[in-house]
Symmetry: C2
Subunit: 532 residues, 2 copies
């Protein structure tokens, strides 16, 4: 934006612009070269952009009246005052250290910086540990667990909550639990780490359920919180969630001081409420907007929707917009449907299911959020719905959307279309739906009807108390049904149950389709089993 | 929609609901089982949906006044009148047979139906041909060429136009030409087939350039046109492009007669003009809308945007909205930019470039079309932009869009974002652009400046007449430049040239970034080379 501005960047650590999202993948061996993680150096930044990057320089105070920052050179230990016209705070977030005794030992690390990664690598190379423990099942915890398994290390993953990946709903996370177990991760859900004892060549971990673990490496991945000390000391206002408060121009409460990235609070696109959503994409955009505005532009940041993705061994999980639990918390009305279609034409080899949950406004069908899990094509569907959410589109738009189709890539009725169909059919009153919870506790006027073929029930399990009439016999067996009852209809993924529901309604019966079928039923039950 | 309606389906051929998009993949061996292509049978359709499917039943006439159709049973050769309340015409499209002598032989086939595929398979199995020729380089022609190569057969692909995949612009198709050549396809562009001579165990093909080919199998893939004879005979109006004319309810010009699928004309979403876009997704949606309306609903089809994708060996090409040539033909104003970012984080293994062309309104930035080609992640980006086009979004929305990011899936600044940045920077006047054509013919006041490093010019080629100053030396070498000139700046993909353009503008020079850099330059030159 400017050749005339003097631009100085202060960094406390040794590095600028390293690929922190790549750290777990270097530990796991996917990224072989450590150098590949170093995107810019102070020298390259100076050469190309004429930016004066000062590493090992800790900003100790902001002096808004004088418009200076107090900087300590960590090598010389000398302090100096650096004047500014405009100041950008981008200190990021720091790991939340759990309040547990014994964490200060040389086998316990966080995984946010290059030095963190180097220390973990050094320990692995030196000790060839046979067992490691990851505390926390979010993005970093999951990626770290996978990386350690790729190195042949036994891994315990200890998670306080009843599910990994807290940003999605419990039933959508449940396939990840199976995937982790299938890849040899010893998953301990709903379990707290109580204490750590350093035995020299290993750590003894005590867990809340009374169990103990002997481990040689402990990675803390229990989340992050904004680095706000410097801002607070300068009198800069924080927001409701403890991040630096900024307006849409990325200006803080003090004139000429801007902030961007994981340290600030965003507006959540769906709820309109302030939120802490530490993601790389929003941080990047905010940085550019802040820079433009510092040099005289008038650009505005337009809310964060929390689009995210994580690889968990052979599965991908992704989400955008609000989760069901976030909507419940925000007391927003919503409706939800599930689909499990193939990622591409079923007759083309390699087709695998994408399990997708769609949340939308019951009145107008505006899309509120989506989550998906599967082996392939998950990120694509969430990206498409992310665009729809940004544009305030409805489930009726998803129904109509024209997407790439050839057998290796999708289907003429894509996953996104199918989700739209189910939701739109429901909102138009053409195919009423019910949820797994309804089927688990039907009222006396309701009958659960499973329209799968008997061998499917034997192979994958039956719904307790359900009547079984296969779809293709239903028309000739309508006389077995009771017109005074309401039928809650289920099949494997919800398609045959939809056809059955229409058949029943058109024949004068009351019927609802259990959205997502037995596959959703299994996911919900697996999630419930953790806490029961 | 109804249990009480009597629903009869007439099909001239032996099969209903076969996976015609899968036919080339069965020939190539990707889809091993022929049965996998049979999605529904008359029996399954009767059982599940109570539809009376009559195959080998040719509808010979529609009698709108009597509200009947005349049907010939192709087995008994008897005719009967079938009354209707509502009639749906979904005859599809038929292959355009080129006007060439000698095509009637037993080695020449189209590839639209299961019997077509069976005949080709039979010939391959029987004769083990060493050489086959495909006439036409559209979707079917490309898929057929790939399938034949997978069977170890030498393939010539003869295409009348200067490029394959006529729905995208020539420079975007040029990587496909290289890919075809790299996989042993003998590609003959801008070449017509003049005559075919049947020599019993082979065909002698004469081409427009005087060359001849001896081939054992000839597949005609020269496009399709709507099957409209029946509709025309009944007095149903056709549209400007020769397809059956329908309103948004899928009603034809005659009461109680609906039409859907490849036989009808759609409204093009971008141009608003009638268009023939034979694609599976739109056909599916139209069928459902027509059915709903035939049973009393009031649903409306909302234009086709032509989202499409094709696999060509290891490349994927996809497009949505209008191409540049379509916009030129429609006399629409547009601007265009190119980007070539990696499909996912460059430091994560397996990253490959996605070459994307974005077309947009010069005034307000509304997106008009996009095309992309690359090895991976192409369909995802086109699907996201397809959603944006449907929502009438602008390049400014692409700039802001929040998409899935983790190193295996994307980048914090995704391909779609980068395309948005380039277009939005241009529209805001922050970074003016020029095109390859400008660089090929600079005016006397313009200088072409290549800011790549000298080894890159040696390895990949230089732009004729360009001055070379590497970006990282540019700031200290500004004194070599002339303030009276305008600099047309190029690098490899357009990023360094953007930085250089900003540096020059901020230093008081006139400069424009050649969008897409040397990579676009090469694609444009390759396309021009075909016709020169």
């Amino acid at each position: 934006m400017s050749e005339s501005a003097d631009i100085i960047m202060f960094e406390r650590g040794d590095y600028v612009s390293f690929a922190n999202c790549g750290l777990p993948y270097h530990i796991g061996g996917d990224i072989e070269s450590r150098d590949a993680l170093l995107l810019q150096t102070p020298q390259s930044f100076k050469q190309r952009f004429n930016v004066d990057v000062r590493v090992r320089s800790n900003v100790e105070a902001i002096n808004p009246l004088a418009q200076t920052v107090t900087v300590r050179n960590l090598d010389s230990n000398e302090c100096y005052q650096q004047p500014y016209d405009k100041l950008l705070l981008s200190p990021g977030a720091k790991s939340i250290a759990p309040a547990i005794d014994g964490l200060s030992n040389n086998r316990t690390f966080t995984l946010r910086t290059l030095p963190d990664m180097d220390q973990i690598q050094t320990l692995i190379d030196r000790d060839q540990p046979s067992h490691a423990t990851v505390l926390g099942g979010g993005f970093i915890g999951l990626e770290a667990a996978e990386a350690l398994r790729q190195r042949g290390i036994d891994v315990a993953l200890v998670e306080l909550g009843p599910q990994v990946m807290a940003n999605v709903d419990a039933e959508m996370a449940s396939p990840l639990h199976q995937e982790l177990a299938d890849h040899g991760v010893d998953l301990r859900l709903a379990t707290a780490l109580m204490s750590v004892e350093d035995n020299g060549d290993s750590l003894a971990l005590k867990l809340s359920n009374g169990a103990s673990l002997t481990t040689e490496l402990l990675i803390l991945a229990t989340g992050v919180k904004p680095e706000t000390e410097l801002a607070e000391q300068a009198g800069i206002a924080l927001g409701a969630n403890g991040g630096i408060k900024v307006n849409s121009r990325m200006e803080t409460s003090i004139t000429n001081i801007f902030a961007a990235g994981d340290a600030v609070e965003h507006v959540d696109l769906v709820t309109g409420q302030p939120a802490l959503i530490p993601l790389a994409g929003p941080a990047n955009r905010q940085g550019r907007i802040a820079a433009d505005n510092m040099l005289g532009s008038d650009k505005h940041y337009k809310a964060t929707q929390g689009t995210s993705v994580c690889r968990v061994f052979d599965l991908t999980i992704a989400a955008t917009g609000s989760s069901e639990k976030a909507l419940l918390k925000a007391k927003r009305k919503y409706e939800k449907i599930y689909v499990h279609p193939m990622n591409h034409a079923g007759y083309f080899p390699g087709a695998t299911a994408v399990s997708l949950k769609l949340l939308f406004e019951p009145n107008d069908g505006v899309i509120l959020g989506a989550q998906a899990v599967g082996k392939d094509g998950v990120d694509k569907r969430i990206d498409v719905i992310a665009m729809a959410i940004r544009a305030k589109l409805t489930v009726f738009d998803l129904e109509e959307q024209e997407l790439c189709y050839a057998p290796p890539y999708g289907s003429a009725k894509d996953v996104v279309n199918l989700a739209g169909f189910v939701a739109a059919n429901y909102l138009r009153g053409e195919s009423d739906i019910c949820q797994v919870d309804d089927v688990l506790a039907p009222n006396p006027q309701q009958v659960v009807l499973d329209v799968r073929n008997p061998p499917e029930l034997i192979n994958t399990g039956a719904i307790e108390g359900a009547v079984n009439i296969p779809l293709d016999s239903l028309r000739e067996r309508l006389n077995e049904l009771d017109r005074d009852k309401e039928y809650l209809v289920s099949c494997m993924v919800g398609l045959r149950a939809h056809v059955a529901t229409r058949l029943l309604i058109n024949s004068g019966f009351k019927a609802k389709n259990m959205t997502g079928g037995f596959k959703t039923y299994q996911m919900v039950l697996a999630a419930k089993a953790v806490t029961s």
